[in-house]
Symmetry: C2
Subunit: 509 residues, 2 copies
């Protein structure tokens, strides 16, 4: 079943012809070859991968994007779609061969329409999340999803990775925010489903297929997203608790007491707080004493509920104290303090990176099992790998924590990551699978977790993915080497392998 | 690109071998050939299609279902999955050739598990909707979706058609209720994704692909569904209004006043009420006078909100009266009266069928445009087709109405439906498309709307569907002739055409 990869390479036009054609199509603003301008985009957010590219293409609208993809199909040039380049799994970084085209969607950054009554916004894939927030606010609306990288992440990237964030507890993942999508497919055709109908049963939900497909089935060009009424008021609480099970009990209590008003519930252990305080000289511990676990709780209200909000939160906390769920708590006195609380949470990853090498795992298990998972996994890992420290923090209410294993002091980063660190990750993922969890709760698979997905994924699901991938991208041009694991019997390292396996005879058109 | 359909027919084992093997696999309880027992299932709910089948297969569990599908793949026998046989578009009726296996999922009717805390239920595809309601109620929970055919419709059918119903306004379609799915694919392999994780980004959302795929991509065997807290109280209101735009204004008012408490909002014109009163001798008009339009409004509360419910509804109605949105209203005095109100709504279709032939269209347009659409479409149709009456009723809040065109008195049903009726449907669907709507809001495509989908559907979306279908069912064995329109350049009437177009050379295994 191997397709003639050599033949495909031989058929590749000299890249000069392609680049000339691309330049003619996009103009100098849309096709960048100056290495100084391209280079910053060739390394991923975490600094883990650096690739090379034929060029950086930046089409100015959907029509240009469509024409470009047609050109790429003709010349058999693979594309690597990229938004804000803030992904966590190397999904937007080209490989090291230099034959791939880095495809930036950043110029597709128009807010095309806001329908205030219907609470929807239609915008290009290149719109930055922060910009979306600001645009919605102008109309007394808000976009539910937020995450640490909001100053860089783009709508197209958020859709392609089905991004999560801190508001999933209340509002769901990116998938839930998407009402319509416009995407360019592997042959350059435009799949346009931007106008949302509340009920529409005209076939397979292809929009859903594209969401979370990490650029491997189509390139998102625009989307219609749902908006919510603006928050009139919010209360942010920092609570100290004695254990993770107690934190979960606090979460259940807060949900029961506050219902829809509970927007976010994040947890972190004392060690994470201390790491952040080390990193950020101006940051202050919210509470006077240390506590084994901390919870960051956000409660919101619209206009109707604003007046009663503080009282509701105080009542909830009061009951929590009485029930022994909380040892101490601080309610942010104003927006600045609320932002300061959130900054601590958002700084955990950088703070920990500053302390030394660590393997980072974005995992989920069934929600109610998370405290038990952490209590079980931490000692197992620390016992097997002496000198390591395993910590968990994050979205307790979603069953999604970031499970990081910090290297023993003094190791060489590259050596440790490639050696023990990789073995540690395998062990963590084995544990997650044993607990019926996911090895990628929100960050996606990209290139980082593709091998683990091949190793641990359900074979039936993987085969389905390969077939769908082959059907939509028979030439393997859309983000090859990402997400879709090749069959283990034909494991290959060529860029086209993830799509080429089932390419029909007609591929050589 | 035509695959050798003749060759496939020649390769078909004599059906005797297949039936022997199927009987050996399923036992006499699982393979029924007695025509008297099979016949009731060969005609669709609306009495529009009657097919023939090799036999009626009724596997007892997922393992049997998987083995049966493998057998079918081996013998190239196409299957027509069927649940309660209550679909509206002939999707569960075999063709007239008699080579297809009618595949009943009704024996997969176990409630496997209810998790009261997590509010989830896992059950077989054959569980009847009414049973699901009753089971949930035992645990003080409820399943959000309900529709007229609840005594017959099964979970598998609801999933495969992404059923709608009267609670979509508040709770969304079936898609929103599905947390996990187990399905048997075309090669007999089992895609098992029953355990829901709140966050899981391990690739394409294949579950979403299966939902609404009408049995053409896989056979749903089981599902995990979300449940809601049981309703503690409900108030049902029947209101008379002067026009459809006024009814919509009333809807917006009710939404603003009642928020999440508003569960349903259905509209019907006076003529529909009169038709029902003719059909049901015991039914009574809820209001003293006639009104151009009627709205059926359901408001619910959980325990916390039950005490305040009546007051909230009365306040909402009071304001509606003052604003001129309501001419008269009756609040159901008790559950019996509430049920009586709903019975009127649920009896509209049968009442109208009793009056004579009609073409029925389940359509949606953008929500806010529905009143204008009806005001425009009704006179257009009635002018073009003298003697017809066009009526609209249904789920105003979802932008989904049932748009029925009643034949002039005295026509022969079959003649009219095949002639003028069909032309009328084309015109209605053309209007819907011009208004950016859907020709199938909730009923799906089945066989009834496949040609119209081919004519009116977005070519890019249709091509995507064909490719996905070919990838997942290369032999074209799953519900051929349904949903997926063949390419117009190779229009064929063989049962296998929808899948055979892109069947790879390896199909003749």
């Amino acid at each position: 079943m191997t397709v003639h990869k050599q033949a495909m390479t031989e058929k590749l036009s000299p890249s000069g012809d392609f680049l000339d054609a691309a330049l003619a199509l996009l103009g100098p603003r849309g096709l960048i070859r100056d290495p100084d301008l391209v280079e910053p985009w060739l390394t991923d957010w975490r600094g883990r991968y650096t690739g090379r590219a034929l060029a950086l293409a930046a089409p100015g609208d959907t029509a240009e994007l469509s024409a470009l993809i047609k050109l790429c199909a003709h010349y058999r040039v693979a594309v690597v779609p990229q938004g804000g380049n803030s992904g966590m799994v190397g999904g937007a970084t080209p490989d090291a061969q230099g034959h791939q085209l880095l495809l930036s969607l950043r110029r597709l950054n128009q807010i095309k329409a806001i329908d205030v009554n219907a609470r929807q916004v239609t915008c290009g894939a290149g719109v930055v999340l922060q910009t979306l927030h600001e645009e919605a606010a102008k109309h007394d609306l808000r976009f539910a999803l937020t995450l640490g990288g909001k100053g860089s992440a783009t709508v197209g990237g958020l859709i392609s990775t089905n991004a999560g964030g801190t508001q999933v507890l209340r509002h769901g993942t990116m998938r839930k925010q998407v009402l319509g999508v416009e995407a360019v497919l592997a042959d350059g055709s435009i799949f346009s489903a931007l106008t949302p109908l509340k009920k529409d049963n005209r076939g397979f939900d292809l929009k859903q297929l594209l969401i979370g497909s990490e650029g491997t089935l189509g390139v998102v060009a625009a989307a219609t997203l749902r908006l919510l009424p603006a928050i009139a008021d919010r209360v942010v609480v920092w609570a100290g608790t004695s254990s993770l099970p107690t934190a979960r009990a606090l979460l259940l209590h807060a949900e029961a007491a506050l219902g829809d008003a509970l927007e976010g519930f994040e947890v972190l252990p004392q060690s994470c707080l201390e790491a952040v305080l080390e990193l950020l000289p101006d940051a202050r511990a919210p509470l006077a004493d240390a506590h084994p676990w901390h919870a960051l709780i956000e409660v919101v209200a619209d206009r109707a509920g604003a007046a009663a909000l503080a009282g509701r939160v105080e009542a909830m906390l009061s009951e929590a104290f009485e029930a022994g769920l909380v040892a101490d708590a601080a309610i942010a006195a104003n927006e600045a303090q609320a932002e300061a609380f959130w900054l601590i949470r958002e700084s955990i990853s950088p703070a920990e990176r500053a302390q030394g090498p660590a393997m980072q795992h974005d995992i989920s298990v069934p929600v109610e099992r998370m405290p038990d998972f952490v209590a079980t996994a931490v000692p197992i890992i620390e016992a097997h790998w002496p000198g390591t420290r395993a910590i968990a923090f994050g979205h307790l209410g979603d069953g999604n924590v970031h499970f990081h294993v910090i290297a023993p002091p003094g190791v060489d980063r590259a050596v440790w990551e490639a050696g023990d660190g990789t073995a540690i990750s395998h062990e963590v993922y084995d544990l997650v699978v044993a607990w019926h969890g996911s090895i990628s709760a929100e960050h996606g698979i990209g290139q980082t977790k593709r091998d683990e997905l091949a190793r641990l994924g359900d074979p039936v699901a993987l085969e389905l993915m390969r077939r769908v991938k082959a059907a939509l991208d028979p030439l393997g041009l859309l983000n090859p080497g990402k997400l879709v694991p090749p069959r283990t019997d034909t494991l290959a390292d060529t860029p086209a392998d993830s799509g080429a396996i089932l390419a029909p005879a007609s591929a050589n058109a």
